[in-house]
């Protein structure tokens, strides 16, 4: 096996050196009747060329990866500068462990410190951790943190939060004695209804809202923050489309207490859902209840600046069952990719990406809204996603669009909401060309007419 340096002859010598006759003796502490007597039934070893062919063949069966797409809903196709993959492919980064020994881990530690700072800058918050698994689990951890901070056990979640995020929160809190309630959306604006936030009461630990929300609408965060804070509850803001930070008022400026986000938009491949990276930021006063790792500044005895893992007394390896979270491994390399993305795009690029997304989405929305039979049910301002109501079943329409026009036109909302057969969610990013948008619009027009006529 080419990944094992010692040859069989060297291993035989080593066995003799430690006084053993056979490799089997290495496993003497395992009761004999538990030792396998036959080889594992997994496929026989393949050579490198065979592996490449096998995976190329598998990848070729993912037709959706090869066509223009308007899918978003928690995972977004954005431009990723070429240097990201080169830099994260440096062995010094990707084959290192969690930086437990700071003297030989300063590269990772300084990059994490930069990541934390960038997350603070974009979210408008004071402190950010070294990453969570993804946006959904970051949200679940935020809910648990709010419960610890407030001592209250009820959490209200907007119905415009990504359905899968809600499911993850539900799984996490089901044994924590936390009661989950939902806040309705306004059927006209598409925003979480602020008219009546009676769902938030004095037992409520936190109100959870996503902005832009699952339906693409930008929420009135400042207004929500005021209402929520009046009840002594915390406002948790989730962001699935981090490109929006380049344009929208940061949640921290709007009064959010905890901000979580999915950082995949920052130069991370779609990769069928992962690995992604969860961003987690909060106010300075809450830092000791934060989950996850934190990197801070430290100095050596000569006064030289360095970076270390810090405030570890919150964490599982010290506090065990009393820790703020069970998280250990996080998404280090993906956080590094996001850091490189933010640095490369920089102050100007982050804004330009956001503006192009908003402009192209506005163009697409206008074109689709002008089609006979199609409408945009929500009036609230949007960033780069919007709901379209079709005159026919959306799932069938989109399937036709894929097979006949080679375009993935969006996400049928029936995937999550059985009562919305004709609605679909369209996402437009800076990567979608005008020609693609025009082809989408033309395809929708002709296929819908054909379907209605049939």
């Amino acid at each position: 096996m080419r990944y094992i340096p010692n040859s069989p002859e060297e291993r035989a010598e080593m066995l003799r050196a430690i006084g053993l006759d056979s490799a089997e003796q290495l496993f003497d502490s395992i009761p004999r009747d538990l030792l396998l007597t036959a080889p594992l039934r997994t496929p026989a070893a393949l050579s490198e060329p065979e592996i490449i062919v096998r995976f190329e063949q598998l990848a070729a069966r993912n037709a959706a990866a090869r066509r223009p797409s308007f899918l978003g809903a928690g995972a977004y196709a954005h431009y990723a500068p070429t240097i990201i993959d080169h830099l994260i492919s440096r062995a010094e980064f990707f084959t290192a462990y969690t930086p437990y020994q700071p003297e030989v881990s300063q590269g990772t530690l300084q990059a994490v410190f930069e990541f934390q700072t960038l997350v603070c800058q974009l979210t408008g918050m004071d402190v950010a951790n070294a990453s969570m698994y993804d946006g959904s689990t970051a949200l679940a951890e935020a809910v648990l943190m709010a419960e610890r901070l407030t001592g209250r056990s009820r959490v209200v979640i907007s119905e415009a939060v990504h359905p899968e995020y809600f499911e993850v929160v539900h799984t996490y809190v089901q044994h924590a004695g936390i009661e989950l309630a939902r806040a309705a959306i306004d059927p006209h604006s598409g925003r979480t209804s602020t008219a009546d936030l009676a769902t938030v009461d004095d037992r409520t630990a936190a109100f959870v809202v996503q902005s832009p929300n699952f339906f693409g609408c930008i929420e009135e965060l400042s207004k929500l923050a005021d209402l929520v804070h009046q009840k002594g509850a915390m406002l948790i803001v989730a962001v699935t489309e981090s490109a929006s930070f380049g344009l929208l008022r940061p949640p921290g400026d709007c009064g959010a207490d905890i901000v979580v986000a999915e950082g995949q938009s920052f130069g991370v491949p779609l990769s069928f859902g992962g690995p992604y990276v969860g961003l987690f930021a909060t106010r300075e006063k809450f830092v000791r209840q934060m989950p996850g790792r934190l990197v801070g500044v430290a100095h050596d005895k000569h006064g030289r600046r360095g970076f270390v893992l810090t405030l570890a007394t919150r964490e599982q390896h010290i506090r065990r069952e009393k820790a703020t979270s069970n998280i250990c491994t996080n998404e280090g390399l993906i956080a590094l990719a996001a850091t490189i993305y933010m640095a490369t795009m920089g102050r100007r690029g982050l804004q330009e990406v956001a503006h192009q997304c908003a402009q192209k989405a506005a163009y697409a929305a206008r074109q689709i809204a002008s089609l006979d039979g199609f409408s945009l049910p929500y009036s609230a301002p949007r960033f780069n996603e919007f709901v379209v109501r079709a005159p026919v079943r959306a799932d069938e329409l989109l399937k036709q669009l894929a097979t006949e026009r080679n375009i993935t036109g969006g996400l049928p909302l029936s995937r999550y909401f059985a009562d919305r057969p004709n609605d679909f969610l369209v996402c437009v990013t800076e990567l979608n060309t005008r020609a693609e948008i025009d082809a989408l619009v033309a395809g929708l027009k002709q296929l819908a007419v054909a379907t209605v006529a049939a």
Binding site: D28, Y133, T329, E352
Partner: protein, 507 residues
């Protein structure tokens, strides 16, 4: 040289790289996008001003592409990594990360695949997940597999929740089984995961031989409130729990289930299977045993494997096969629910599958054998110079202590830092918690004999230094670009982000 005097050289910037924010210079650009190709809409008509940010992203770096490449390349040179050499962190399994696995995970048909693409157009990805599930089931002897957990601790939480859901279904809610037993040698994630799943944690002692105390286990199980046991096997002392059948029997007789932490599965693959031992549920770390890279702290992947009895409770969606087609199955009414959006860290699944297919059954067995042999070789070679608190022959990792060196005032931390001067990453230190001054060494199979010998020589040299010149060890490392950092001061006044100085702001 026109007479200019060369004074003592100051360190090159590569050894003193500023933060991104300090390197930023107004007006520098590191990207270029295609020009906007649609008629622009006045921005106020898209997003009104009160919903837009008004800080112009002040403080976010402005850098050229060259600046960014040099910055991160310089930072990278300050890291020790598996590709430099032996990285013997115990229970972390720092084995070689194959470039082939990196290559296949980046194939465009995987990398560009949206998770919400229709299943019929993502058949290749679903087949990867399904096939990996099948192989992990075979390797562990546990047929139900979910790849959704994103890391080991996430897999633990999932596994413990499965136990909870199973007991609720079997005994009805309010069964009163709210105790999770965790050995005192366990990883901290175990009790934290149990707590997250609503269990009270009770600790099981380790015997002087380094194994789970069966008598105490029986006592703890006699109270009727035990939901299960979380056991690492081999345990974190590197010892196989040879009474594993009896342990499982005791817990099962008491009505509980056995969860195995699979962090140390690199000692078993191809030789023995948890499912055959009586274990009900296990998590694996694809980023340990199956060689997906640790990435400086992730991403990981923590698949959960369980018995057929627990299978109905696994997270949704399940990846299933119907004839020739692979599908996402959401119709699992007893499921604990989702533990993560989408299907887990798919990119890690691609790499792990490539690992399994590259090794084949023989290669995996060979890797396990080589990993255990390397650890055993070190165990024997260092016993003359370091205290070995448990005498039984270890599996894939071995624990030593600083007991002999401590007499000269040299402690585990000092020995660890001194190893850096000799060119090695230190082992896991001060873990497991039950061993005072622990040094937990796991070489893995990815180290050749000459490097093992060098490591042993370095450890022996340090033992000698501890006797003859303890100050040298106590002040280590001497060769790194920074010395030991004052972690206590860092925690007292935490600085967790860069902020502009007053001077920079006014400039």
């Amino acid at each position: 040289m026109n007479g200019s005097k060369i004074t003592k050289a100051t360190p090159h910037v590569t050894q003193n790289e500023d933060l991104l924010f300090e390197r930023s210079r107004r007006g520098r650009i590191g990207y270029r996008l295609p020009a906007l190709d649609v008629e622009p809409t006045p921005i106020d008509e898209i997003v009104p001003a009160e919903l837009r940010r008004d800080d112009d992203l002040e403080g976010v770096p402005e850098l050229s592409e060259v600046d960014v490449v040099r910055h991160f390349t310089r930072l990278s040179t300050w890291n020790y990594a598996v590709d430099h050499g032996m990285y013997p962190l115990g229970s972390c399994t720092m084995k070689y990360n194959s470039r082939l696995n990196e290559k296949v995970a980046r194939i465009a048909g995987f990398a560009n695949l949206h998770p919400l693409a229709p299943a019929e157009e993502a058949q290749g990805a679903l087949e990867v997940l399904y096939e990996l599930q099948q192989h992990l089931a075979e390797i562990t002897g546990l047929p139900g597999v979910s790849l959704q957990p994103a890391a080991g601790a996430h897999g633990e939480m999932t596994g413990v929740m499965l136990i909870r859901a199973y007991l609720d279904a079997r005994d009805g809610k309010g069964h009163g089984r709210d105790v999770m037993l965790v050995p005192d040698s366990a990883h901290g994630t175990n009790p934290a995961s149990a707590n997250l799943s609503g269990f009270r944690v009770k600790t099981v002692r380790t015997t002087p031989e380094g194994l789970t105390d069966l008598d105490q286990l029986r006592e703890l199980c006699a109270t009727g409130d035990v939901a299960g046991l979380m056991l690492t096997n081999p345990n974190t002392l590197g010892l196989f729990e040879r009474n594993i059948r009896e342990i499982c029997h005791i817990v099962h007789e008491a009505g509980g289930l056995v969860y195995m932490d699979g962090a140390n599965m690199n000692a078993l693959v191809g030789w023995a299977r948890p499912g055959d031992m009586g274990v009900d549920v296990i998590h694996l770390n694809l980023h340990k045993t199956f060689s997906t890279p640790h990435g400086g702290g992730g991403p990981g992947s923590g698949p959960c494997c369980c018995t057929a009895a627990l299978e109905p409770f696994l997270p949704v969606p399940r990846i299933v096969r119907e004839g020739e087609a692979f599908k996402l199955d959401y119709d699992r009414p007893q499921s604990i629910g989702r533990v993560r959006a989408f299907y887990g860290n798919f990119g890690m699944a691609v790499r792990a599958l490539a690992y399994i297919l590259t090794h084949g059954p023989d290669g995996m067995r060979e890797a396990t054998e080589a990993a255990v042999l390397n650890a055993r070789y070190i165990a024997q070679a260092l016993a003359s110079d370091y205290e070995k608190p448990y005498q039984a022959p270890p599996m894939h990792e071995v624990v030593f202590t600083d007991k002999r060196q401590a007499r000269k005032g040299v402690h585990t931390l000092d020995i660890a830092k001194r190893l850096i001067d000799y060119g090695f990453h230190p082992p896991t230190i001060y873990f497991p918690l039950i061993v005072q001054g622990a040094m937990l060494i796991e070489p893995t199979e990815s180290v050749g004999r000459e490097e093992l010998d060098q490591f042993v020589a370095a450890m022996r040299a340090i033992a000698r230094e501890a006797e003859e010149e303890p100050e040298t060890v106590r002040n280590a490392p001497h060769t790194t670009r920074i010395g030991r950092l004052d972690e206590a001061a860092a925690a007292r006044r935490p600085v967790l982000r860069w902020k502009p100085t007053a001077k920079a702001e006014s400039a």
